[in-house]
Symmetry: C2
Subunit: 298 residues, 2 copies
C-alpha cells in the first residue's frame, strides 16, 4: 500500500534483460540496481512527479550467487533513497538468464502531469543534467580503455538523473518534458512529434563537457583514426569533441523540457534551443540527420 | 497516470516465465494473458481493493508471432475488464524466452486494507470461489485426457477469481484475507502464521464439486490405480473424491477470509472452518500433514 496524497498516481514500468540492457562482466549487481531504479524513477520525474515506490520482479538462474542479489537490492535501495522512494514489493522467479522488471510509482503533488505533447511555438528548450556521458562510458568499456575516465564509465554504469528537477520544472510551468533515455535528439524528436512542432537545438548553447572531448580524443588516438571514431556497441560515434555523444547518446536520463519564453529558470537548467513551427528536430537549423552519430543511432 | 481517489494505492507485481509458469503447448496466448492479469488482480482483491490498472512488461524472442502478442493483449484486456481495471502502460524487450512482468494497482475505496495478519480466535473461515479445479485441470492436461472435462482444463488455463468478493469482504469486516494461489491449506497457513492462530478446516463444509470427483475417478481408471492417483506435475494428488486437489491445489485464486463470529455472509461465501488458539492449520482437527496431496505439495 503506497500513499497517493494527490489522489492520482503516476506509474511506469521497464524491463532489463541480461545481455541486452546490461552485461554482468561490465556491470556489478549494485550498478544494475542503480540503473534499473534510475531509469524508472527518471520516467516518473519527467512527468513532474516525485517517485514514491518501486516494485521489483527478479527472474534469475538458480545458480545466481545470493551476494549478487543482495548487492542488486542495495543498488536499488540506494538509488531509491536518492529519489525519495522505497522498494515496497516484488516477486522472484527462476529463469535461464537474469531479468529485472521494475515498476515505479510517483506522486504529482497537486500539479498537472507534464507530457510530451504540450510544447508551444516560441517556447525555449532547456536541459537539466548532462548527456553523452553514458555513451562515452560505454564506448570506453567497449574499447577496454577505462583508465583516466572513471567518471564517464560510472555515468554509464550508474546513471544519476536530476530527480528534483522534474517536479521543479512542472512547478515552473514546463509545457512538455522527457527524460533522455534514447538520446537528446531522439527524445526531443518524441516531444516534437507529440507536440506537432519543430525543435531546434543550438550546439553553441550545449553545456561544455571537457571530459567528453578528452575521451573522444583518447579513443581516436587509440584507434589510429584521428578525427573519427567508429560507433561503439551503443551505435553512437563520439563525433567532433564528443558532440555526437551529447546529441545522440542515450541512458543518461537527464531531463529536457520546454518552457514559455518568459520563464526564469534556475541555473541548473540550461537553455539549449527553441520550439518553432514545423516538425522534427534540427541542429543549428540544419537537419539532424547530418549530425555525426545521429544516423547511426536511428 | 491512474486515479487513486482513496489517496492510497495498493500495488502488487508478479513474474510469469515460459516453461515455469505456463507452457505454450498447453496455454494459448489469450489464456496466458487472462492468467497473468487474474493472478495479480486477485492479489489486489485479497487486500479488499478494486483493481484499477495493470502495467505489463513483455520480454519475448524476436521470432514470436505478432498474433501471439496480440492475443496475449486481448487476454489481458478481457480479464482486466472483468475486474474493472485497464492496461495503462508497459514495456517490451527481446529475450530468449517469453517472460511477463505484471504490476496491478488498486483502490481501497476508503476501507482499511485487509492483510493476512488479523485473524482472531473465534472467527469463522470462509471462502468465495472454488479450489482444486486448476490442479485438476493441470492433472488432466498432463495425462492427455482432456475429453469431457473442458471446464476443469479451462479453470487451469484461465482462472476466474471472484474479484468483487474482495472489497465486499473488506466491507463486511473481514479480519484477514488471502487469495488461494499456493493451495487452500498453504494459504490458510500463511494467514495462521501471520495472525498467530490455528485454523481448522472442516472437510464436510467444503463446497461439493462433482466434477472433481468424476475427474479423479477418470484419472484413476486411466492409470489402472483404483483409489489413488500419483501427483501430477503440479505435485498435487487428487485424493479421495478430489479432496487433495481442493485442499492443496493452487492457482484457482479463490478468496478466503476470516470474519468475526457474528458476521452475516452472502451466500457466495461458504464457511469452511474456524480460527482457534494454537498455530498452523488442521483438517477436521487433525494435522494437515496427513492429508493426501498436502505433503506432496509442501
Amino acid at each position: 500500500m503506497v500513499r497517493a496524497p494527490d489522489r492520482r498516481v503516476v506509474a511506469t514500468t521497464d524491463l532489463l534483460v541480461e545481455g541486452r540492457h546490461f552485461r554482468r562482466d561490465w556491470s556489478g549487481p549494485f550498478d544494475v540496481g542503480v540503473k534499473a531504479a534510475a531509469q524508472n524513477l527518471a520516467d516518473v520525474a519527467a512527468m513532474g512527479a516525485s517517485g514514491t515506490a518501486l516494485l521489483v520482479g527478479l527472474a534469475a538462474p538458480g545458480d545466481l550467487p545470493v551476494a549478487w542479489a543482495e548487492d542488486l537490492v542495495r543498488g536499488l535501495a540506494a538509488e531509491c533513497a536518492r529519489a525519495g522512494a522505497s522498494v515496497v514489493g516484488g516477486d522472484v522467479s527462476s529463469a535461464d538468464s537474469i531479468m529485472l522488471a521494475i515498476t515505479a510509482l510517483g506522486d504529482l503533488g497537486g500539479r498537472e502531469p507534464v507530457t510530451r505533447a504540450g510544447a508551444q511555438v516560441g517556447d525555449v528548450v532547456a536541459i537539466a543534467g548532462r548527456t553523452g556521458r553514458s555513451a562515452a562510458g560505454l564506448a570506453l568499456l567497449a574499447a577496454g580503455r577505462v583508465s583516466g575516465f572513471d567518471a564517464l564509465v560510472a555515468a554509464h554504469l550508474r546513471p544519476s538523473p536530476p530527480y528534483a528537477a522534474g517536479p521543479e520544472a512542472a512547478g515552473l510551468g514546463a509545457t512538455a518534458m522527457i527524460d533522455v533515455s534514447d538520446g537528446l535528439l531522439a527524445d526531443l524528436g518524441h516531444v516534437a512529434d507529440a507536440s506537432g512542432v519543430l525543435i531546434d537545438v543550438e550546439t553553441a548553447r550545449l553545456p561544455a563537457d571537457p571530459e567528453l572531448r578528452a575521451a573522444a580524443e583518447a579513443l581516436s588516438a587509440a584507434q589510429g583514426a584521428p578525427g573519427g571514431v567508429a560507433p561503439g556497441p551503443g551505435g553512437v560515434a563520439p563525433g567532433p569533441g564528443g558532440l555526437g555523444w551529447v546529441l545522440a547518446g542515450g541512458e543518461d536520463h537527464a531531463l529536457t523540457a520546454t518552457f514559455g519564453p518568459g520563464t526564469t529558470l534556475p541555473s541548473h537548467w540550461s537553455v539549449i534551443g527553441t520550439v518553432q513551427k514545423g516538425h522534427g528536430v534540427t541542429v543549428d537549423s540544419r537537419p539532424a540527420s547530418g549530425v555525426t552519430g545521429w544516423s547511426h543511432f536511428r
